[in-house]
């Protein structure tokens, strides 16, 4: 356990919204941009999320090097504005994996206690 803690640098764990946004980007693949990410999260979690929160989270993830983005072509239905597509980088996959594993390890064997509560 101490070995694992030493191996995992601080800051490798993602926040819950960061994980949700990254999973949405992963699910959407080549069609991942602001609006689709927002709708995917809303449909799957049942919670209304603001486009501002999605962009702020993606900006944070991009600054950490977990996500990259590129500008698409402008389209008429967007008032001539271009889309910004997002994709997960290798470091992002690792961080997501580490965070999901940490949660899985922490919750292992606790399902009976949850049911009791």
């Amino acid at each position: 356990m101490f070995y694992l803690a030493e191996q995992m640098p601080r800051g490798d764990f993602l926040g819950s919204l960061e994980q949700i946004v990254m999973l949405a980007v992963m699910r959407l693949g080549t069609n991942a941009y602001g609006m689709t990410v927002r709708r995917e999260i809303e449909e799957r979690t049942g919670r209304e999320i603001s486009i501002g929160a999605v962009y702020a989270t993606l900006e944070r993830l991009e600054a950490k090097g977990y996500v990259s983005s590129f500008t698409g072509e402008p389209t008429a239905e967007r008032g001539g504005r271009a889309k910004r597509h997002f994709e997960i980088e290798a470091a992002g996959h690792q961080a997501l994996n580490a965070s999901q594993n940490a949660l899985k390890n922490m919750s292992e064997g606790l399902s009976r206690r949850w049911k009791r509560a």
């Binding site: 602001g34 501002g52 239905e77 889309k83």
Partner: protein, 184 residues
């Protein structure tokens, strides 16, 4: 939702993010709004749009502050403001002994104030355009406060100070932008 309300909301969002990101975000909002209008009523879509805007602005404002854009703008504007008043004091004390006429003293005050504020507006705009705008506002507010405290000055002088302060700042900022365009 009226076109002017939409334009205003887009203007607000564009102030909070870098241009390319703001364009993408506004495009996303417009695209989803269009999709929702095909399925729902104008009232419900306007409600959705307002909720999106209301919940997005604080998050983006915070992200913008974390990015440091606001901090740099505010610090630049305040530093320029302090520098402008220092320069004005130096100019004024250098020119003051040249005459004994009170009218000439008022003119010296006005000219040294305009020159100092214009120079600082120029510097502020070279660092960040928003800082020059904020400086113009600070100068206007400071002049208003000064005139509210000291009402003995003649009306022409008070009016000139009020107009000249922000105008000189904007002139300095415009000169900075123009020179940058010429040189680059």
């Amino acid at each position: 939702m009226s076109p002017s309300t939409l334009a205003l909301s887009q203007w607000i969002l564009a102030r909070l993010m870098p241009a390319a990101r703001a364009e993408a975000l506004i495009g996303d909002l417009l695209e989803e709004r269009r999709l929702r209008l095909q399925a729902g009523s104008h009232v419900s879509v306007a409600g959705w749009y307002s909720r999106q805007l209301a919940s997005s602005v604080p998050v983006l404002l915070w992200a913008s502050m974390r990015r440091g854009a606001w901090l740099v703008t505010v610090v630049t504007a305040v530093a320029s403001f302090i520098a402008a008043f220092r320069i004005q004091m130096v100019l004024q004390s250098a020119l003051w002994p040249m005459t004994t006429s009170s009218f000439a003293h008022d003119v010296i005050m006005l000219l040294s104030f305009a020159a100092a504020v214009a120079a600082c507006g120029y510097v502020a705009a070279s660092i960040r355009l928003g800082a020059a705008r904020l400086l113009a506002f600070l100068v206007f507010a400071a002049v208003c406060a000064m005139l509210a405290i000291n009402t003995r000055a003649p009306l022409w002088y008070e009016g000139s100070l009020l107009v000249l302060g922000p105008l000189a700042t904007i002139a300095g900022a415009t000169l900075s932008g123009w020179l940058r365009r010429v040189w680059l």
